[in-house]
């Protein structure tokens, strides 16, 4: 597959704090790469360094096979960036904002008009073109922010936490839009600390912490790094310690924790753990009001790799 971004040995420090530590990774054409990590893990610094918005101490960055420099305008022509903060003019309408930012890349008036209209349709702001940013809700404002970044139809798009503080409806709209951009041929680098978003849209994920890559791969590849395979939680009215001890002796069980009426059983592996457990409880005449099984999440992977939660 064609490499769109090549990052080699990238390092960046803020005074004594190492924000990025010898980072190397590639981004391939047509994929959505998720940069996942808690706040302060170095996601935004990585993107700002790739875009040459920050000076870095060490490393090389190639985009579309060319070295990225502040004056590499031919490369910049095909890059779109959606920053974490909403970057629009309060004095301009939705249409005027998109038109202005698109105009920084596209000078042809007619072409720009069709691009702006496409962007408006993509983010679903057709009814709000004459609205000023102050008149928009948080979700609509985020959509405008995205439209301003992608209106010029870039081949490579950076999205830096575009769904922060967005309502679920707008979030789904944004994520659908990102998938559509990928389907239309764009390569996307997506940073977030929402693991469910990454699982939903990313083809490949890089987990970052303290400026270093902890793990890299597809969702399934990363989940396979987790020691536990399944977690079953059940709510019981009454269960004897003898029955609990018996569950602990199951071959695939890793641990059993009783917390009041809740019993949490984690499994190292196995595929029909839930069936086996319900049969056993039935034979022991243990009644339960609720039972559910969970597969390990990226948060569990992160927890296992770092000993802390993604949202810490």
């Amino acid at each position: 597959m064609k490499k769109i971004i090549e990052v080699k040995n990238l390092s960046k420090s803020y005074k004594n704090l190492k924000a990025i530590d010898d980072l190397s990774f590639d981004v391939y054409e047509g994929e959505i790469l998720g940069l996942l990590g808690p706040n302060g893990s170095g996601k935004s610094t990585t993107i700002n360094s790739i875009l040459n918005l920050l000076e870095f101490e060490k490393g090389t960055i190639k985009i579309f096979g060319k070295i990225m420099k502040p004056d590499a305008y031919d490369i910049k022509r095909d890059i779109g960036v959606i920053f974490q903060e909403v970057a629009v003019f309060e004095e301009l309408t939705v249409y005027e904002n998109i038109d202005y930012f698109c105009g920084l890349y596209v000078s042809d008036k007619l072409l720009r008009k069709s691009y702006v209209e496409d962007a408006i349709n993509l983010v679903g702001l057709k009814e709000f073109t004459k609205f000023y940013p102050k008149q928009l809700s948080g979700g609509l404002l985020r959509r405008l922010n995205i439209a301003c970044g992608i209106a010029h139809k870039p081949k490579l798009i950076f999205l830096d936490e575009p769904t922060v503080a967005v309502d679920p409806q707008s979030r789904n709209n944004i994520l659908d839009g990102i998938k559509k951009l990928r389907d239309d041929g764009a390569t996307i680098v997506y940073t977030t600390h929402y693991m469910e978003e990454v699982e939903m849209i990313c083809d490949r994920i890089i987990i970052l912490d303290k400026g270093k890559i902890l793990a890299e791969g597809t969702t399934d590849e990363l989940k396979s790094l987790a020691k536990l395979e399944e977690k079953i939680t059940l709510e019981v009215k009454k269960i004897s310690s003898k029955v609990v001890d018996e569950i602990k002796t199951f071959k695939t069980v890793d641990s059993v924790i009783q917390n009041g009426n809740n019993l949490v059983i984690t499994y190292k592996k196995g595929k029909d753990n839930l069936g086996e457990l319900t049969s056993f409880l039935h034979s022991k005449k243990v009644t339960y009001s609720k039972i559910f099984s969970e597969r390990p999440t990226l948060n569990d992977v992160f927890l296992e790799l770092t000993g802390k939660d993604l949202r810490d």
Binding site: L53, E55, D74, E85, E91, L104, S107, C148
Partner: protein, 380 residues
């Protein structure tokens, strides 16, 4: 072109502010508080004099006749005390004593040995000038004409050629002081409108988030800033043109007289200082709310300290000293000077050129400060 157009779109959003300050200028800058006083004619002044004639000859009588025509002869008692009293009470400003033997002395090529007393004021100088002129003329002509009657006739003919005085400029002092007041008040609205709007517009362009988006775009950031600079300059010129048109509507053709053009030139240079100041402040201040506060402090302090609202002559000496460090002081100083200046000439206008030079130095200082501040902000 996109950047240029967007600049004006953002300016358009603040048209209410521009209209507000302009209305303020029209209302407060053009109030007529005095009646017309046009200096358009010349009135000949005659000095009040006393003549003590101790010769009573033809030539002595000729001198008296000359002064009867060109001065007001005051009758007083022929005593020294009465004459001194007349001078003291300004009934007369000049006394001419024609001594016995005046005629003989003149005919022998002398000056006539005339004695005088003077109050030393302006009209006494005029009387002395008349006397000197007369003696010079009779002394020259006495060499050619020995006949006393002919001599007197020739002297009178020679001195009779009156100078025709025509005023080259007709100064409407009231209108001029109103125009000056208009431009003085404009120092406040001009600073406010240029500073306020440019700072607000540039704070939108310079907002860190927006700036980042512009920097990562395929447009050269320097080129982008060049468009902003051109648009800001054109906006300043637009404000000066607007204020000039308003001045024309209020004051008519006076706006485009030589003097009026100097007011416009002064305003144009001052607007350039305001533009440089605005660019510097907008480099330092990102926050829109802060812009409003800073503009009020800068514009109002200059207006109060430099005489935009009240004439400089009413301000205490200490305030005027402080005002010297503010550009508006030099702008207003030029306006006041233009209102008081009788005749326009390059030499007379020297203080104005110096004031304008000082304003340009202020602009250069703001450009240097802006460059220093901009360099510090280049890297995020």
């Amino acid at each position: 072109m996109t950047v240029f157009k967007t600049f004006w779109k953002v300016v358009k959003r603040y048209k209410g502010t521009i209209i507000g300050f302009t209305l303020m200028l029209v209302i407060f800058g053009s109030i007529n508080m005095s009646s017309n006083d046009v200096t358009s004619s010349f009135k000949e002044t005659k000095p009040d004099i006393i003549i003590v004639n101790n010769d009573n000859t033809i030539l002595a009588d000729g001198l008296v006749s000359y002064f009867k025509e060109n001065a007001n002869i005051i009758d007083v008692k022929n005593t020294e005390r009465a004459i001194d009293d007349a001078i003291f009470y300004r009934d007369a400003s000049y006394v001419i004593y024609i001594p016995d033997g005046y005629e003989d002395n003149i005919l022998n090529g002398g000056n006539g040995n005339i004695e005088i007393k003077s109050s030393g004021d302006y009209t006494s100088n005029l009387a002395e000038m008349l006397l000197t002129r007369y003696i010079k003329a009779i002394k020259v002509l006495s060499k050619e004409y020995s006949d006393k009657t002919t001599l007197l006739s020739k002297v009178n003919n020679a001195l009779d050629e009156n100078s025709k005085v025509e005023l080259t400029t007709k100064i409407n002092t009231t209108e001029l002081s109103r125009l000056s007041r208009y431009y003085n008040f404009a120092s406040y609205t001009l600073i406010a409108v240029i500073l306020f709007i440019i700072c607000l517009v540039l704070s939108s362009f310079n907002k860190e988030t927006t700036r980042k988006r512009i920097v990562v775009s395929s447009m050269d950031y320097k080129k982008h800033n060049k468009y902003i600079l051109i648009a800001s300059s054109l906006y300043s010129i637009f404000v000066v043109i607007l204020y000039t048109i308003l001045a024309f509507i209020i004051f008519g053709s006076l706006t485009f007289t030589e003097r009026g053009l100097l007011y416009i030139l002064n305003t144009f240079i001052f607007s350039f200082v305001a533009l440089c100041m605005a660019l510097f402040i907008s480099t330092l201040v990102k926050n829109k709310e802060a812009v409003s506060g800073i503009v009020n402090v800068v514009a109002l302090s200059q207006a109060f300290l430099c005489g935009a609202f009240i004439p400089v002559v009413w301000l205490p000496e200490s305030v005027i000293k402080i005002a010297h460090v503010l550009p508006a002081y030099w702008y207003i100083n030029t306006n006041d000077f233009l209102a008081e200046l009788e005749v326009l000439s390059f030499t007379n206008l020297k203080p104005i050129w110096i004031n304008m030079l000082i304003l340009i130095i202020f602009a250069i200082i703001f450009i240097i400060l802006n460059n220093i501040a901009s360099r510090k902000k280049m890297v995020l």
